[in-house]
């Protein structure tokens, strides 16, 4: 079948929704069927996304517009009165993140089989709807449609943390929703204002929400400042950038394992993706004006996240703060407006998704056995559960940025960009690498080495090593970590087009001239 004439993007987005509907009609007692169906649809979506990659590659650099080079564009009028379209399209950036999403989704669903025993039906439906929202965000090319998917993500995550989370879950989940809503609703005002400004300039609503038409439309300088600020707030909360990060540790600690995996692996990327896809191409002048502030916040996040991670007693909280630090590299790479930096940022998005996703899975494995995540109670796991300890060590090294593994390449490119941008920034964040090595390696030491702790010894034979299913969930992530570490060109090749498009959009000569 010829892929170019087939609505592959709609298929990818709505396959999980179809799965949710199928699960809705399965009796809730039939837990095995519910789990199987969820996994089946998640796998089908994954396969479809791989098919997308194969179809995408041959023409990856052919089509180009100010917003990027999109393929498989589907456009149907949805609310014609306001020019709102159901418009999807994929460029290399979307494709990379779509594959990341579909991969982590099926892994998360598989990893939920054992820990989630209550209300499985609602859980699986929530998870599949969550996947619909995430994929929609990465593929929407209409601002209104994008906003809808953006909000669709919120509700299932709210339920996943709130229903299947830990003791303090209600506080955490409401905090998560309120933080996100404040940002996204202001973004809604900015989206509507942008569309209206476009309508007022062209005299027609046609294309007023169309990203490809709006990017490069050259909005008035002052308007760009306000609109960019509104978009940036929404995305900064989602990433999360310092000082909007406080919802993240709470959400991570309370979320069930798979919720944490998706939260760290995909949800945080929605914010970074929003910057690259929407905020910067739409309002390049605004982006330039705010870039120094955002760079400063990124550097603070990198340093602050690392230092705070050093003193966390809870495993999940430690990894959550390390996410704040790692995502700081992403936003830094984006806002230095420089090829290596941007490539590194995008690569780091993918790598962080894989590695931190795997780390949260590993925390889930140990939590299922011990019902505890306190670092102080761990110790000597290497002797009791060697396979687990090896896997844990592997992903921690990847996270530290060991050359040869995925984490290294992204950070290295961001370093390069940062040094080119301003040596002092480069020095500052390189210095942080020492902290990163410190908190992560110290964590491994306390977890895996030394004598077996009393707490763990007390568990006796309950403390088993990893089961085959658990190895199966981690193996693909481990493989990808190695492959992307050795051959990052796989992703860099995909994102070459989008990187060029974004850098062209923020070319200072073009972007700053608008404001003058």
């Amino acid at each position: 079948m010829d892929i170019s004439s087939f609505p592959i993007l709609s298929l990818i987005i709505f396959l999980p929704l179809a799965g949710a509907f199928v699960i809705a009609i399965i009796p809730r007692r039939n837990v095995a069927a519910i789990r199987g169906t969820a996994l089946l649809f998640a796998l089908a979506t994954w396969v479809a996304s791989l098919w997308l990659v194969l179809g995408f590659l041959p023409a990856r650099d052919v089509v180009a517009s100010a917003a990027g080079s999109f393929q498989f564009v589907e456009a149907v009028d949805w609310i014609p009165l306001f020019g709102i379209q159901y418009k999807l399209g994929a460029d290399g950036l979307s494709v990379a993140l779509v594959v990341l999403t579909t991969t982590l989704s099926w892994i998360s669903i598989l990893a939920s089989f054992s820990p989630i025993r209550e209300r499985v039906k609602e859980y699986m439906i929530s998870f599949l709807v969550l996947e619909v929202g995430m994929l929609g965000v990465f593929l929407a090319l209409d601002l209104f449609l994008f906003y809808i998917f953006w909000e669709v993500v919120l509700v299932p995550m709210y339920l996943i943390i709130g229903i299947w989370g830990g003791a303090n879950r209600i506080y955490a989940t409401i905090k998560f929703v309120l933080y996100t809503l404040v940002g996204s609703l202001l973004m809604l005002v900015a989206i509507l204002a942008t569309a209206y400004t476009f309508q007022a300039a062209t005299g027609s609503w046609a294309g007023a929400f169309d990203l490809e038409k709006l990017a490069g439309a050259g909005f008035d300088g002052t308007f760009q400042l306000f609109a960019f600020a509104a978009f940036a707030l929404a995305f900064a909360i989602k990433v999360p950038m310092f000082p909007f990060h406080t919802w993240l540790p709470d959400a991570h600690v309370e979320a069930p394992t798979a919720g944490s995996v998706i939260l760290a692996g995909v949800l945080l990327k929605l914010g970074a993706y929003g910057f690259i896809r929407f905020a910067i191409p739409l309002f390049p002048h605004g982006a330039h004006v705010f870039a120094p502030l955002l760079i400063a916040l990124s550097v603070i996040a990198i340093i602050y996240g690392a230092i705070v991670a050093l003193v966390q007693p809870d495993l999940k909280k430690l990894i959550a703060y390390s996410s704040v630090s790692h995502m700081g590299f992403v936003t830094l790479g984006i806002f230095i407006f420089q090829a290596q930096g941007l490539q590194g940022a995008i690569l780091q998005m993918v790598n962080h998704g894989l590695i931190t996703g795997a780390l949260f899975l590993l925390v889930g494995v140990i939590y299922e056995r011990t019902h505890d995540r306190t670092l102080a109670k761990m110790g000597g796991l290497g002797a009791v559960t060697p396979v687990y300890s090896a896997a844990f060590g592997f992903f921690v090294f990847a996270s530290v940025g060991l050359p040869g593994l995925a984490g290294f390449v992204g950070e290295f490119l961001v370093f390069q960009g940062a040094f080119a941008f301003n040596p002092w920034v480069g020095v500052a964040i390189t210095f942080v690498m020492i902290f990163a090595a410190a908190y992560l390696l110290w964590m491994v030491q306390r977890m895996c080495f030394g004598p077996v702790s009393e707490f763990l010894a007390g568990l006796g034979h309950h403390l088993t090593d990893m089961r085959p299913v658990e190895i199966l969930t981690l193996a693909p992530l481990g493989a990808l970590t190695v492959i992307l570490g050795l051959y990052p060109g796989l992703v860099l090749d995909l994102i070459a087009g989008p990187v060029k498009a974004v850098l062209a959009a923020v070319d200072p000569a073009v972007a700053m001239s608008i404001g003058r």
Partner: protein, 491 residues
């Protein structure tokens, strides 16, 4: 009266006949709820069809006092839907409490007549007549649970403040009549236009008239600071009545606003824009802030309905600033709000089927487990009230915000106030979801069987909430036609 008059007023006449028929049915077979409800629902279907039929041919009747235009038809269809849905939701709640259903249905149909008269009025006196015919049945319904102290208290407050505000409104009309020499809406608009033309400041008489009219209408829509009757009246009334009161008279009050402010007093729009702006900001903010602290869901929804009045007034303010989309947004919001709010109240009514069950938050604990279907529907309605896509409530909010953003300037500030309010509102709507899905039930209440009518009504409200969210384009032609009927190109 001519034959063409008769065809124009056919829907209104049918409503009056229907109300009489419902009472008659109750006299013929006292206490036979099936007959009374059957007559009422069948009659409402006929009325709805008649409305659509007369809506095809706009016209006036009785020498221009009664007018059918696209706005009339749009509002009438909403009113008929509200009353029909209220009738569907009522039996499950009223029957176990021994409250008579035929009376409930008959009073509602009378109120429908009033609302339709408001929507069709081309004369301020007819409008006032309709307004009274609409709200007096409301007082009766609020106090309809005679032995319940809260119900009586709510009704007395509602009645006293309602009558008071009607008098104030009438007083304002008298000023307008005195200055313009006419009660005909078109003539009033023309005369007011002549009076203000070339004048820098408003004459004292008109200012007084505008002030009294605004105060009177603000009472009816429950805008802050004229909202004090709302929480007591809403909490005290039997739940299906509350559901009706929270949407019927509110949309009716907005019909009054449209006919009086957007049509008759349009030349004064610069003046009332400021008033509406301040009222809208206050209404949203106070409604939401107080709703945050409620632990009774009915009372919480009462305050939330105050907040929704504020969102709708954002659309009105945008219209006053010259943006047609403001009017359209207001109308769309009215329709969306009617379905989602009625749906939410229907779920509460269903939960309270067994007498003695309160509407406190604890009632909702573990609902998602006890009654999954009701739980999911309540989630849908609450998300729509919050304004989360893809639901009707989201598009409604986006619409009025789009209008405000188009107006620009201070109206953009109003739009920002509106979205910050929407974010705050998420907290108390989500709290109900927290109770339904994240808390365990207190005790183990025996499951109740829900009536077929209630199920039908819930299905209709849920489907409409989803459809208006996913495909708002379906309603937009009617909305813009209705807005065109009274709106003129302002800029």
């Amino acid at each position: 009266m001519t034959l063409s008059d008769l065809t124009v007023i056919a829907p209104f006449a049918a409503v009056v006949v229907l109300a009489a028929l419902v009472i008659l049915a109750d006299i013929v077979k006292p206490g036979n709820r099936h007959l009374a409800l059957g007559v009422a629902l069948a009659g409402l279907v006929v009325v709805g069809l008649l409305t659509l039929w007369t809506g095809q041919t706009p016209g006036t009747a009785f020498g221009g006092m009664y007018k059918v235009d696209s706005l009339t038809t749009f509002l009438d269809v909403i009113f008929v839907a509200i009353v029909a849905l209220s009738c569907l939701f009522a039996p499950d709640y009223l029957e176990p409490r021994g409250l008579p259903i035929a009376e409930f249905a008959a009073i509602l149909v009378f109120a429908l007549g009033g609302a339709m008269l408001v929507a069709a009025s081309a004369d301020l006196l007819v409008l006032f007549l309709g307004l009274e015919l609409m709200v007096i049945p409301g007082y009766m319904l609020a106090g309809y649970h005679k032995r319940d102290a809260l119900s009586t208290e709510g009704a007395v407050k509602y009645f006293l403040l309602g009558s008071f505000s009607s008098a104030i409104f009438l007083f304002g009309l008298a000023y307008v009549w005195g200055l313009t020499g006419s009660t005909r809406i078109a003539d009033v608009a023309a005369r007011v236009g002549e009076i203000v033309a070339g004048q820098a400041i408003l004459s004292p008489g008109l200012a007084m008239g505008l002030a009294f009219l605004t105060a009177g209408v603000a009472f009816k829509m429950a805008a802050v600071p004229f909202h004090y009757w709302t929480p007591d009246a809403y909490q005290g009334s039997p739940t299906p009545v509350t559901g009706y009161l929270s949407v019927g008279p509110k949309v009716g009050a907005f019909a009054v606003v449209l006919r009086v402010f957007a049509e008759a007093l349009l030349p004064l729009r610069q003046e009332w824009l400021i008033v509406i702006f301040v009222l809208a900001a206050l209404t949203m903010t106070l409604g939401n802030l107080v709703a945050l602290t409620q632990d009774n869901v009915k009372r919480m929804l009462a305050y939330s309905s105050i907040a929704h009045t504020g969102y709708m007034m954002v659309g009105l303010a945008a219209y006053a600033a010259g943006i047609m989309q403001g009017l359209e947004g207001l109308l769309f919001y009215g329709a969306a709000y009617a379905f989602m709010n009625l749906g939410a109240f229907a779920v509460i009514a269903a939960l309270q089927k067994r007498p003695g069950v309160t509407s406190r938050l604890e009632t909702f604990a573990g609902l998602g487990r006890r009654e999954p279907a009701l739980g999911i529907l309540m989630v849908l309605f609450l998300l729509s009230l919050t304004g989360i896509p893809p639901t009707a409530g989201f598009f409604a909010k986006a619409y009025v915000i789009l209008a405000a953003v188009q107006a620009g300037g201070w109206l953009t500030v109003l739009a920002v106030i509106a979205v910050l309010n929407a974010a705050a509102a998420a907290f108390y709507y989500l709290r109900v979801i927290v109770y339904m899905y994240m808390r365990d039930p207190v005790g183990e209440p025996a499951p109740v069987a829900h009536g077929a009518l209630l199920r039908l009504g819930l299905a209709v409200t849920a489907v409409m909430t989803v459809i208006l969210g996913l495909f708002p384009g379906l309603l937009l032609p009617s909305v813009s036609a209705a807005a065109q009927a009274i709106g003129v190109a302002l800029r």
